[in-house]
Symmetry: C3
Subunit: 506 residues, 3 copies
């Protein structure tokens, strides 16, 4: 066992040796490290494993273009010769930061934002800004319909006189549920004094904190949080490329992308032989570095073939290889043109990308030509391992499934419309929420859980999620139960009315 430990230790030493001589840490960062190596040892040790701790922007720029991880052509003079440490990210940009505070003489900001990262990674920030995800907070918070959905989920219920009423949810509940992934609004709400080893110190108090949601609204006005996927403070590309990162937000019944991937052949290959892959190579070479895609390979990464020819460019607008927006609300549809979906109005005036009966809110969505163009990029990824016959027919099936699942959603919607129409339930026309009654919740599950799951299963060939694991089985069952509920309610009502008439109680 000792030898084993020695062997491990040797490996660690060997692997941890600095790649470019001694790391060049700025004096500002050195000052941070002096205390924080003790006060938050985990952070410092984590950062020391990062590429940030070992490579200066100048050194990074010496790599050939395809192999670079930074997208600036020259770093600011002040930053180019030292590694990227505490001060470089938490101090340099502090003028823009409303959360900056005086900390031992430096203007430090707790929250690091896409604009801070854009000092070296501007292309990534710009692309990400076009990504729906950057607007995930806004798209939820500024859509009255979705706000009603949030209330129906997070609100605190009370039961009295045979009625349930729901109190609006508080900010902290929302922050740890919907906005955990969608992102909160970070604002300075005051200051607090804390005892530390170095005496009393003052720190800002932040609303919506902690949070690392993809559409976070930051104290410098920027949107998003790079640490959603590039976890502090190692910022490991290996991690961002592994599907576990996406699973943080994309595993549940509403967006079961990771769950579907897991039971797909691709997911199986990753789980079974992925430990032999090179997950940190840039560019990432199909076949040589990895033999089956992860989420990142299909949706984000720069991929090359063995001759170092580019197969697809890197993108941080993660829907730009996608022909459909599978996550139906309530129908799958072409992607919105703008990442800000709160601007959409369908013909009925709702902030929805389709009508309640499925017709797309046309002018707000990308054209079929653009859908086709995006699909063509995706197919380039697929064709590096699969014949065109295989790939084309795979995506034909997806188109078919989008159509068929939308029809199932339509059937469920017509049951709900009937319920509203005949007074079995109350909808918007009756001045009530669309989401608060049992049949309405069944309707939501029809598209949010089962149709979504079925489409993801189709897109990534994880069949069970299109059948028994919240797939077509559940769609069929849900519809039967909606109809039963409707009939029970109507009969209940008609019995009562008949009885009322007969017994003269009304």
């Amino acid at each position: 066992m000792l030898t084993r430990i020695l062997f491990f230790a040797l490996c660690v030493v060997f692997l941890a040796a600095p790649a470019f001589g001694e790391p060049k840490v700025s004096s500002d960062t050195a000052e941070c490290l002096a205390c924080h190596a003790n006060s938050t040892p985990g952070v410092v040790a984590d950062w020391q494993r990062s590429r940030h701790a070992q490579v200066t922007p100048d050194e990074a720029l010496k790599k050939p273009a395809l192999g670079r991880r930074i997208s600036v052509t020259k770093a600011p003079d002040k930053l180019n010769a030292t590694v990227v440490g505490c001060a470089e990210c938490h101090v340099s940009n502090s003028k823009k930061h409303k959360d900056a505070f005086d900390h031992n003489g430096a203007q430090v900001h707790v929250v690091v934002t896409p604009e801070d990262c854009a000092v070296c990674h501007p292309t990534e920030m710009n692309q990400y800004g076009k990504n729906l995800m950057s607007h995930a907070h806004i798209n939820l918070a500024r859509n009255p319909l979705y706000q009603d959905l949030v209330k129906s989920i997070n609100g605190v219920p009370t039961f009295k006189d045979m009625k349930v009423s729901v109190e609006a949810p508080d900010a902290e509940t929302n922050a740890e549920s919907c906005y955990h992934c969608h992102g909160t609004v970070i604002e300075v709400t005051g200051t607090v004094t804390r005892q530390t080893k170095d005496g009393d110190m003052e720190f800002p108090v932040l609303s919506g904190w902690p949070n690392q949601g993809v559409g976070r609204i930051n104290p410098d006005g920027s949107l998003g949080s790079c640490t959603s996927c590039h976890a502090r403070h190692q910022f490991s590309i290996t991690m961002a490329r592994k599907p576990y990162t996406c699973s943080q937000c994309h595993k549940g019944p509403d967006v079961p992308a990771y769950a579907v991937y897991q039971v797909s052949k691709h997911g199986n290959l990753f789980s079974s032989v992925g430990s032999e892959w090179n997950m940190s190579a840039v560019p990432w070479t199909v076949g040589k570095d990895f033999t089956a895609p992860t989420c990142a390979a299909c949706h984000v990464s720069l991929l090359t073939n063995a001759s170092q020819e580019t197969i697809v460019e890197r993108t941080h607008q993660m829907n730009d290889r996608n022909s459909w927006r599978l996550v139906g609300l309530g129908y799958a549809h072409a992607h919105p043109k703008s990442p800000d979906t709160s601007i959409i109005r369908n013909k009925a005036g709702l902030s929805l990308p389709t009508e309640l009966t499925g017709e797309p809110a046309g002018t707000y969505l990308i054209s079929p030509a653009e859908q086709f163009a995006r699909l063509r990029v995706m197919k380039k990824v697929c064709n590096s391992c699969h014949s065109r016959g295989w790939v084309d027919k795979h995506f034909d099936r997806l188109d078919n499934t989008v159509d068929k699942t939308n029809k199932s959603t339509l059937a469920a919607t017509q049951i709900l419309l009937t319920a509203w129409d005949r007074g079995a339930a109350k909808g918007p026309a009756q001045g009530d929420s669309m989401f608060n009654e049992a049949i309405e919740k069944k309707w939501v599950e029809q598209w949010m859980f089962y149709a979504n799951s079925t489409r993801f299963a189709s897109a990534m060939a994880g069949a069970d999620y299109g059948v028994f694991q919240r797939g077509r089985w559940d769609m069929a069952k849900d519809i039967e139960e909606m109809v039963d509920w409707l009939k029970f309610k109507l009969n209940d009502k008609s019995n009562h009315e008949t009885l009322d008439k007969q017994t003269g109680t009304k």
Copy 2:
């Protein structure tokens, strides 16, 4: 970081070095590689990692019998001296293949089948032919009852006049759902011309493609697809032995084998310390190579003890160590004698291995003696790590659980029979489907989800799947809800009838 990359590169070079001098690639395969290294680089790189790319059949036959991965005693003269490349699998057998087409002068077939693999692996194909899985397509497609179930799941619903009607599902929907695992029928339906870098080329169009289902019906008439478990083009034994492979089809609520394994002690050992195991050794030695079983260890692999004595022989008839068929339809029962279950008729004339009330369709099922013999083989695996007292009592519990879960299914069935009998729902006797009403779907879940899950939990000691994770908790709840549904319906009906009489509306 550079040193780290160098270290990785060194490892890769070292590990990738050819094992037997330069690989001996046939001239036919060399011709394929000339283009496909560029057109499908992922496939070629994947294959280069395979044993097929490095060992000739002749070399493989020099191994001692227990260590061989091929089961032929001599490979065909034409193939024995070169490694197994593109042409060896996609061209050699083309005369039998209806999907063969002229491709740059060679008769190439896209689909590789068990018969193609059987050139070197005949024992495996023969055993697999006796496996239920080889008939997974047939057993689903030729059973009218199951076809009705498929329709009830995959059919597209419409709602009109308070009624749901279901349109029969299309072939592509079926192919990506049920037949994704069960296997499709692959037939040539035409040809297509495609632009390629080397000019226009003609390719066959295949129905049911893509597919790698276990019971696929191939263009050479054979059944199954070895790539279901031995993924192209690495054909890694490591992968086939890892539980992720089985999880592609055996994770969902209907057959939660992998999910149960994951939370069992065995699964925990695999997840926690499995990275230290030797997953590619042949034969596979208990204790030395691995310290807890994966799916393959119990159900497929040749296992030896440290003295290289055989504990159990390799088998590709994966139910021949199983005393029960746990996946009840709707009751657990002894395994069918024939892998073709579409020939079974119970006393009621249905293609079911038991009556609706649970009595086994005796003559079609293996005898108690054969059940016992299969269990004895399985226990040999268990006894390499567990005392006989431990093992015997474990399987006593499984027998008990088979009995008890069958009783729960019987109770649910009696509720359903009552519903049919008293007109609350319509079954076969009323000329209607057994699967399309809400109470019928609850009945299906009783056995397909909850009883199955409970039995798997018992068989593999993953307790939660026998309690709160779709286990006994759900069985108990489902039964209460079936009874409530029945009562509401009956009362509803009787109210209406009474009301009808009183108000003279009929």
Copy 3:
């Protein structure tokens, strides 16, 4: 491939070399090994990989205190100079063991218990004795209310005359479901003679066997089973520290700790980069050995910083860093003072830590001051990587969520109380079970599944389990369905009564 195998073999040899010269195996153990290397090769090979097989207690005591895995200051003379083998655990303590039997001249006991382990690990046994888990069998078996719940889940149903009746479950069903995790009672019920290679031998027959539950009642009177987490016979600390171990019992809908962890940032870090961590180091140094916590890091392990200063002490009382008992029955509450919860009586006389309406059974629960003290210890773990602002606000959210989820449980409970009150269902006051009707089962799911899940999601920041994956979405839906059920039942009843009156049938 051969080179690859050679490389692997070399590694194995290198790593497996004995750490302290030849292992010093006692003559008693040598005698065991002589037969068992053949009869149970997996056990022996597994043990050979263990630290027990390589280090004597004397050698272990030479380590500095922080690095020790044993907590005795001196091992018994008889045991200190040999490694810990078969006889040391299965024979030495046999006088206390009712399951000891004569086996080739030695008094062997099959079951190894915490008292056996305490010969070298007394601190761990003592701490564990204060852990709720050590009383998991007792707390379930001696609480009449929980026994009724067990019956409602595991009992075998029959349906007759429109009524479901439930037969009490048998011992084997209970042993493989609830008591699989909670632990069985192991007693000698007889003896059995078995044919072995060395002739006929007699073995004890044990009730409740096999079992490794955390609160097992052992034949020496002790409670628990160290192998629940420290799996035989490798007893790997690596394994105990990996979350898969906890997931064996803590993944399902009732206690989804592992599931939540998986989709948290911490879980993502473990899954993505955890293979680079040192999981066996003692003490375990934050940042150096690992960069995100596993279950053990927060709840069990001795943690140090890089200067080898202790951050938190090791504990085997796993709730002593927890401010709340999240697993509500039906409400989250302060932890019970005694690990034996069967002694608790609320004001209504039930063995529940709160009233049915949520008020805590005060005198039986720890004080707010003690809650605060436990939280302070937990925060020390968090603060090694996170700022105090981050950590404090995280736990503020948990407090808020405990409050809000308890309110949801209260609303559900009031619906149930109304149902009992108005005769729609029968509860304890009507002499009936609290768990056997559909509305009662929905009530159980409200707290056991959805409120629990939401609280775990809050505690560990795995948001989806607080929203759509059995979280707030399900709480809201469940309440609507409970009310609908109640109304249907009441109307049904009133219709019948009205009809009865009108038609004079009563």
